[in-house]
Chain length 289, copies 2
């Protein structure tokens, strides 16, 4: 499948970055943007993230080989419904939703015969919002999870996988269930914890906050409505992850109350060793320092 | 009080950095190092962090105007006992302990008449360990908490405060109780949480960890024995902070289970707003980016 026209629905930091990266990686591809704020769309054209835009979904997806949903997940249902009859035969629809069970069901159930849905979850991003922060290199070395099901068209899956690889990403395949369960552990729980950690501080304590606290809570700076959608959509897995965390905190409470010095040092060392190993691994993967 | 000789007990990253910073900030000051590993002491002389060293505490503190305890807190009691009769009249003893109640009681109870103890808590540091990572600029713009009590000698307090300011730090005064309670919130709880967060991950989930997870858990990389001492010494306050966190997690569980979408967005937004405000404030204070 050759991708000649891509429709990016939602042209913020993410959608804009897809446009910039695709235009630099793929020869002669046309990027059509869709959004509800004209000033954003004009800005996206100005910085070269999209070639043109449409303010109707039906127009935005016309003739597109690949349509990517980059709006908040809450809007996906409406968009899929609107576009269904305007997609050309053989078109592939994918998305940038961070939770995948509900989105994949939605895509598979509401698109017509001959149009294919492939769930994808590119793990690249920033706390920054808005197309003015879009960057062609947002994807470099980052991981993209693809979430095929038994219903997924093989060729469409390979096309979407190839697309993200073309933007510089590493890819892996997980079921939508696995994606949601693992992300609850490694992303949604940390986000919820960072928010709780910021909220419980007294003003006096916050005045003493240093770089460690800032790093530990950086992810709590994300947009409330966006994260509400993610956490709510994945609430069963998140509740299970919170329960698991409480178990670990219970262990810690026991060690502190019982003054078990040796065991506490071991409990902390296990975490430090694991964190150090992870850091090594990620340094290589992400080219971070 | 003029500081001509400083004894630094424990010459790792912290003690070494004090030596480097003091030698660059104070004219003609002599730094005497003490430690139990000769290779470290030789290295400290080599990089100019100390002028000379002693392997006996009694020799290391001889004639010192200022003695700073930079070893792990667990060793403080032994050091204070050993040095008590070798300190000159008018000498001031301070420390780099992160918890202050027990250390201040120890210093005040075990030093002879005419020698003064002043608790200090310079909030500068690094996950790195060892004198080879010592830096003269470790203190620049960071906050130093001084923890005087009714027993603290005023002149000694001002001398220690002036010393840290001379190394580029901002200073504030808190009671030992306040230091421990506020630090439980803003430092010890985040550390414990980061450790719990790393530990509960499955291997599969860790493989998906991105920059957000790395930042959120960076503080979990600290030395287990060092953090064991801190958390154990402050266990009453830490247990209270864990209880407060569980209350916040209970709120979140309620919002998720009840599908209270609006309230969940508000809960997340409150944290995001507070985090953003903190970030602004700290950017100015710490000259971070």
């Amino acid at each position: 499948m050759v991708i000649r026209r891509i429709s990016v629905l939602g042209v913020g930091l993410l959608g804009g970055s897809i446009g910039l990266a695709a235009k630099s990686a793929l020869n002669g591809v046309e990027i059509v943007g869709y959004g509800h704020r004209k000033v954003t769309l004009l800005r996206a054209v100005e910085i070269g993230a999209i070639d043109r835009f449409a303010t109707k979904v039906t127009e935005a997806v016309e003739g597109a080989d690949l349509v990517i949903l980059c709006t908040p997940v809450g809007v996906f249902e409406g968009l899929v419904g609107e576009m269904a009859n305007s997609l050309k035969a053989g078109a592939v629809v994918s998305d940038w939703g961070r939770t995948k069970r509900s989105v994949v069901v939605l895509g598979e159930a509401n698109l017509p015969e001959g149009v294919h849905f492939v769930g994808s979850h590119p793990m690249a991003g920033s706390e920054k919002r808005g197309v003015e922060f879009a960057r062609a290199d947002l994807f470099a070395n980052a991981l993209c999870i693809l979430t095929p099901t038994v219903k997924t068209d093989k060729e469409a899956l390979e096309a979407v996988e190839g697309f993200w690889k073309g933007l510089g990403m590493r890819t892996t395949r997980l079921s939508p269930q696995e994606n949601d369960q693992l992300l609850a552990e490694v992303s949604h729980l940390p986000h919820a914890l960072a928010a709780a950690l910021v909220t419980l501080q007294s003003e006096k304590a916050l005045n003493l906050a240093g770089k460690g606290f800032l790093d530990a809570t950086r992810i709590a700076g994300g947009d409330g409505a966006l994260w509400r959608d993610i956490l709510m959509d994945n609430r069963d897995n998140l509740l299970a992850a919170i329960a698991e965390l409480k178990k670990r905190l219970g262990e810690l409470e026991g060690l502190l109350s019982g003054e078990e010095r040796e065991e506490l040092a071991k409990w902390l060392d296990r975490a430090a060793t694991r964190r150090a190993k992870l850091h090594e691994q990620k340094l290589k993967e992400l080219n971070l320092d």
